[in-house]
C-alpha cells in the first residue's frame, strides 16, 4: 500500500543511515546498478551490520539484489535473508528467477518488469508465490525495444497499463518506473500523474527530493477520503449489498475500494 519506493545505493553510509529521513513509504536498498562489482561484498556486509543494529517501524525496507543469472545473486540472498526486511526487489525478473528466489527465502518479492519478454509473461509472474507488487523498469525495457524514452511516455503506455491491470487483478501493488531527471519537479509531477491515471498505485524514485511529490500524487485526495467515508458509513448502515449514493450505484467492489482509501489515509496521517 506504499505510495513511494526510494532506491538508495547499498554501499553509501551517508544515505543508508538516513533512510528514514526521506519520508518514502518504502526504501529499496540497492545492491545492483549503484554498487560496483568490486564492492558487492562491501555493500552486503554494510547492510547486514546496519540492519542488525537499527530497526525501523515506519518504513518498509526492501533490498534490490542482483539478478538471478548474476554471480552475486546467491550470496546477496544468503547474507540478508535473516535480516528484518520486508523482502526483495528482483531485477530482470522472470518466472524462473522468482522460483529460484523462492527456493532460498520466503520473503516478499517485487519483480522488476524490465524486458519485453517479462512484460509478455507478466500474468505468470504475478501469480508466483510471494510476489506482492510489480515494478516497471522502463529504461531497460525501452532500451531492449530500441525506442526512445520521452516525458510524455507514450512509449510505455502499454507497459504501464498492463502492469496496472495485472497487479489490480491479482491484488498486488503496481509501482511505476522512476523519473530519471532529478532536477525537474514539474516533469516528475506530470509523469507521476500519468502513471496514476493509468491505474498504477505507486512510483519508485532515484532521489530523495522526488519523494514529496510522489507521496502527494499517490495519496488519496481530501475529496476522495470524504467520499470514501460516506460510502463506508452508508454501507454499514444498510444491509443491502448494493445501494445508491448521490445517484451513483455503490456495490461491493466500490465499498472495498473505499475501505482501502480510508486505510491508506489513516496510514499516512491524511
Amino acid at each position: 500500500m506504499s505510495r513511494s519506493y526510494l532506491f538508495i545505493p547499498g554501499n553509501t553510509p551517508s544515505m543508508i543511515q538516513n533512510l528514514d529521513v526521506f519520508e518514502s513509504d518504502a526504501i529499496i536498498i540497492d545492491f545492483e546498478d549503484s554498487v560496483s562489482s568490486f564492492d558487492k561484498d562491501s555493500a552486503r556486509i554494510l547492510i547486514k551490520n546496519f540492519l542488525k543494529k537499527y530497526s525501523y517501524n515506519e518504513v518498509e525496507i526492501y533490498i534490490r539484489i542482483n539478478s538471478a543469472d548474476s554471480m552475486y545473486f546467491l550470496e546477496d540472498v544468503k547474507v540478508t535473508k535473516d535480516l528484518d526486511i520486508f523482502g526483495y526487489v528482483l531485477p530482470k525478473a522472470s518466472v524462473e528467477a522468482i522460483k529460484e528466489l523462492n527456493k532460498l527465502t520466503d520473503k516478499a518479492i517485487i519483480p522488476i518488469i524490465e524486458s519485453p519478454m517479462a512484460l509478455l509473461k507478466v500474468e505468470d509472474i504475478a501469480k508466483e508465490k510471494n510476489v506482492v507488487a510489480l515494478l516497471l523498469g522502463a529504461e531497460d525495457y525501452t532500451k531492449e525495444l530500441g525506442i526512445k524514452r520521452t516525458l510524455e511516455a507514450v512509449e510505455i503506455l502499454y507497459a504501464r497499463s498492463i502492469i496496472a491491470i495485472t497487479a489490480n487483478a491479482y491484488n498486488l501493488d503496481s509501482i511505476d518506473t522512476p523519473y530519471t531527471n532529478k532536477e525537474d519537479e514539474e516533469g516528475l509531477l506530470i509523469d507521476a500523474n500519468n502513471a496514476l491515471n493509468l491505474g498504477l498505485t505507486s512510483k519508485s524514485s532515484i532521489h530523495p527530493n522526488q519523494v514529496d511529490i510522489i507521496n502527494q500524487v499517490f495519496a488519496p485526495s481530501e475529496s476522495e477520503i470524504l467520499e470514501a467515508k460516506r460510502i463506508v458509513k452508508k454501507s454499514e448502515e444498510t444491509d443491502k449489498g448494493a445501494f445508491s449514493l448521490d445517484g451513483k450505484m455503490i456495490d461491493l467492489p466500490v465499498i472495498e475500494k473505499a475501505k482501502k482509501v480510508l486505510e491508506k489515509a489513516k496510514k499516512y496521517n491524511l
Binding site: S14, D41, L46, N49, F50, Y54
Partner: protein
C-alpha cells in the same frame, strides 16, 4: 598482503589491513579528539570477535558510525581471505 575496503566520502572510512607480527592500529579521523577511543574500541572488538590478534589496521575515518567501521574492517579482512563465519 594488503587489502582495503570503504571510501573517503563523508560518513565513511577507508580501512586497510596488512600482515603484522603484532596488533597495530593506526587511526586518522576528522573526529579523532571526540571519537578516537571509540573507533579503536570498535576495531579491537571486531578483531577479537573473529579471533584475530596479529594484524596491522589502518583506518582513515571521515566520520563513520560504528557499524560502518565494523563493516569496512570485516570486508577488508574477508578480502584477505580471513574466514569470518
Amino acid at each position: 598482503m594488503k587489502t582495503s575496503a570503504g571510501s573517503l566520502e563523508s560518513s565513511d572510512c577507508l580501512i586497510t589491513v596488512s600482515d603484522s607480527s603484532e596488533l597495530k592500529i593506526v587511526i586518522e579521523s576528522v573526529v579523532l579528539e571526540q571519537f578516537g577511543d571509540q573507533i579503536r574500541e570498535v576495531i579491537i572488538q571486531t578483531l577479537s570477535d573473529h579471533n584475530i590478534n596479529k594484524i596491522h589496521v589502518q583506518c582513515l575515518d571521515k566520520g563513520a558510525l560504528d557499524y560502518t567501521i565494523k563493516s569496512r574492517l570485516e570486508t577488508a579482512l574477508k578480502r584477505r581471505g580471513e574466514n569470518l563465519e
